[in-house]
C-alpha cells in the first residue's frame, strides 16, 4: 500500500471511530478513548527513537509534561496579560489569546522537539543503559524546574477551566469530544509519520544505527544527524500528545504530568506490540491501554502499573519481540514446515 492510500485508509478509519463515538455520545467513552489515543501517540513517538534507532528513552514523561506545561504557561500568560502590559498592547494580545488548542499542540511540539534536539546533542556519545539513565536524569531535572516555577503553579499545580462546549459555526460540540477528535487526528499524523519513516531512506538509516553505528558510518550514513532527527521527532510527538492534556485533566501538577506511568507505558506498549513496525506501538497501546481502562473502572487505577509490570514480564518470557514478532515467527514457521 503506498503512502497516499495509507493516509486515506487511516482517515477513513479515524472517521469511522469518530462516527461510532459520536453516535454513542457517552462522555466516558471519550475520556477513556482519549487516554488510549494519547498512549498510541506516546508509544509511536517513543518507538521512533527506541524501536527504530535502538535508543531507550526513559524520559518520555518529561517530553509529555513539557508539552502539557507549555500549554499551561500560555494559558496562564493569557490570564496575566492585563496586569503585565499597558492597555493598548493588552487589547491587541486579547485578540490572539487564549490560543486555540491546535496552536498549543504545535507550540508543545516545538518546545519538546527543541528539548529533544538538545538531549540528542548532550547524550550523543552515550549508548544503551547510559543513554537511558541520562534521559531519566533529564526528566528529573525538568521536573525540578517545573516544581520551582511558580508561574505555572509550582508544586501546587494549576487549574485549567475547560469550557463545556465548543462552538463550531452553528454547531455545539462537547469539549471532550473536541479533545478526542484532536487526539484522533494527532494519532493519525503520528502513525502516518512512523510508517513513512519506516519505508524511507531515513528508516533504513535508523535501522543501521540500531544494528551497528560503526558499520553505518563506514557505509556513509551520517549517524549523528540521523540520531538528532530521531530525538527531535520523538520529542516533538510526545510534546504534541501532552499539549491538550491540561484541558483534559483540568488540574495539572508536576507529579502527575511527570508520572512514572507515562515513562513506563511509552516503553511497555511498543515492547508488547513489537518495536520493528509502526503497527507494534498501535497494538501495544490499544491492548495495554484498554486493559488499564478496564482495570480503572472495575478495580482501581492503582493497579495500572501492576498490569504493565505483569504484562511486560509475561511478554519478555513468551514473546520477546512483542505480539508482532510472535505472529511473524508463527507465519515463518508455518511457511518453512
Amino acid at each position: 500500500m503506498n503512502t497516499t492510500k495509507f493516509i486515506l485508509a487511516m482517515i477513513a478509519a479515524g472517521a469511522a471511530v469518530l462516527a461510532v463515538a459520536h453516535s454513542l455520545n457517552v462522555d466516558y467513552f471519550f475520556f477513556a478513548a482519549y487516554t488510549i489515543l494519547q498512549f498510541i501517540v506516546l508509544a509511536t513517538a517513543w518507538n521512533i527513537l527506541g524501536g527504530y534507532c535502538g535508543y531507550v528513552n526513559f524520559g518520555s514523561a518529561a517530553f509529555f509534561a513539557l508539552g502539557a506545561y507549555s500549554s499551561v504557561a500560555l494559558i496562564k500568560f493569557d490570564g496575566a496579560i492585563d496586569s503585565w502590559f499597558p492597555e493598548g498592547v493588552a487589547s491587541f494580545l486579547h485578540h490572539v489569546f487564549p490560543l486555540p488548542i491546535p496552536v498549543l499542540i504545535v507550540i508543545g511540539a516545538v518546545v519538546s522537539g527543541v528539548v529533544g534536539l538538545g538531549m540528542g546533542y548532550l547524550t550523543l556519545r552515550l549508548r544503551g543503559a547510559f543513554f537511558a539513565i541520562a534521559t531519566l536524569a533529564m526528566a528529573v531535572v525538568l521536573q525540578t524546574l517545573i516544581v520551582n516555577w511558580d508561574f505555572v503553579g509550582g508544586s501546587r499545580g494549576a487549574y485549567i477551566i475547560r469550557p463545556d462546549t465548543l462552538e463550531v459555526g452553528r454547531f455545539q460540540v462537547s469539549y471532550i469530544e473536541y479533545l478526542f477528535t484532536l487526539m484522533l487526528i494527532l494519532t493519525i499524523i503520528a502513525l502516518v509519520t512512523a510508517r513513512t519513516i519506516e519505508r524511507s531512506q531515513l528508516g533504513f538509516g535508523f535501522a543501521t544505527i540500531r544494528d551497528d553505528e560503526l558499520a553505518a558510518e563506514a557505509c556513509g550514513v551520517p549517524t549523528l544527524r540521523l540520531k538528532l532527527i530521531a530525538t527531535t521527532l520523538s520529542g516533538a510527538f510526545m510534546g504534541m500528545a501532552g499539549a491538550p492534556f491540561p484541558y483534559y485533566i483540568g488540574y495539572l501538577q508536576p507529579a502527575s504530568a511527570f508520572g512514572l506511568e507515562y515513562a513506563v507505558n511509552s516503553i511497555a506498549m511498543p515492547m508488547i506490540g513489537g518495536t520493528t513496525s509502526w503497527i507494534g506501538p498501535l497494538i501495544g497501546a490499544v491492548v495495554l491501554g484498554s486493559a488499564q481502562q478496564y482495570a480503572t473502572v472495575t478495580i482501581s487505577s492503582a493497579v495500572n502499573l501492576l498490569i504493565v509490570g505483569l504484562m511486560l514480564v509475561a511478554f519478555v518470557i513468551i514473546a520477546p519481540k512483542g505480539l508482532l514478532g510472535l505472529v511473524q515467527d508463527r507465519l515463518q514457521a508455518r511457511r518453512s514446515s
Binding site: Q201, T208, R210, L214, A216, E217, A218, C219, T276
Partner: protein
C-alpha cells in the same frame, strides 16, 4: 603521477600509549598494496585514522587531492574511501540485499544522483551480490551465512559505495586455503576495475601473491616499504617478526 592516498607524519596516541608514530604512506591510483605487521603494531589504528573512525592527533591524511583531517567517517566514505571490518559487522536485522542497499542509498545514490528508481537499486544490489557469488541468498539474513560468505558480504557492502580506495582489513583471517583463493580472486577482479586496494593481512601467501608493494608496520612505526620480495628479506622486518 600524484598519489591517491597521501598519509603524512600520522601520530595517534591512546593515553600514554603511542599507537602510531609519525607514519608516512603513499598509495598510487590503481595500486595493490599490502600492509603487514605483528599484532598490536597499529595496522587497524592506521585504517581507522584513514577512514575517520578515529581522528589523528597530528599529521595529515590527503585523499584524491583533498584534506581528510577532521572529517567524520561517513564524509570520507562519500569521498571514496571504503573499508571492510576485521570482524564482519553486517546489519543483523536486514537481509543481504538490504545490507547493500544502505551504502547504495547513502553514498552511491547521494554522490552520483543515479539509481533513482527502486528497480535500479534492486538491480544494483543483485549485481553486487552476483559479483561476490551470493546472488542466490539476497533475501537471507546475515546470521544464515558462513564465515567466508560473511567476508564476501563485507566486501560487497564496501564496494556498493563505489569507492576509489578499498581497505580490506584482514578479510581472510580464519578462512581455509581455497576460501582465501576465492577472496583473493575477488580482490584482484576489483583491482582490475580500477579500484586501488590496501590489503591488511597476516597470511603471507595471500599478501605476497596479491601485493605489488608491501609496507611493514611495527610498534606504530613504518619500518619498510617497497617490493614485496625485498621487504620480506629486510633484516629489520625479519627481526620484528622472528625476534633476534
Amino acid at each position: 603521477m600524484t598519489a591517491l592516498l597521501h598519509v603524512d607524519n600520522l601520530t595517534k596516541r591512546f593515553g600514554g600509549f603511542v599507537a602510531l608514530d609519525g607514519v608516512a604512506l603513499e598509495v598510487e591510483p590503481g595500486e595493490r598494496m599490502g600492509l603487514i605487521g605483528p599484532n598490536g603494531s597499529g595496522k587497524s589504528t592506521l585504517v581507522n585514522c584513514i577512514c575517520g573512525t578515529l581522528q589523528n592527533e597530528s599529521g595529515s591524511v590527503h585523499f584524491d587531492g583533498q584534506v581528510m583531517d577532521g572529517l567524520a567517517a561517513h564524509e570520507r566514505t562519500h569521498r571514496g574511501v571504503a573499508r571492510s571490518f576485521q570482524l564482519p559487522r553486517p546489519f543483523h536485522s536486514m537481509s543481504l540485499a538490504d545490507n547493500l542497499r544502505i551504502p547504495l542509498l547513502y553514498t552511491a545514490h547521494a554522490r552520483s544522483g543515479l539509481l533513482h528508481s527502486a528497480g535500479d537499486l534492486d538491480a544494483r544490489c543483485h549485481e553486487l551480490l552476483n559479483m561476490v557469488g551470493l546472488a542466490g541468498k539476497s533475501r537471507r539474513m546475515p546470521r544464515d551465512l558462513t564465515q567466508v560468505e560473511m567476508r564476501k558480504l563485507e566486501l560487497a557492502r564496501a564496494m556498493a559505495a563505489e569507492p576509489k580506495l578499498l581497505i580490506a582489513d584482514e578479510s581472510m583471517a580464519g578462512l581455509s586455503h581455497s576460501e582465501i583463493d576465492d577472496i583473493l580472486a575477488l580482490l584482484v577482479r576489483l583491482n582490475e576495475r580500477g579500484i586501488t586496494i590496501i590489503l591488511i593481512e597476516h597470511i603471507m601467501r595471500a599478501v605476497m601473491s596479491f601485493s605489488q608493494r608491501l609496507a611493514v608496520l611495527v610498534s606504530g612505526k613504518k619500518i619498510a616499504d617497497g617490493k614485496p620480495e625485498e621487504v620480506v628479506r629486510d633484516p629489520e622486518v625479519v627481526r620484528a617478526y622472528l625476534g633476534q
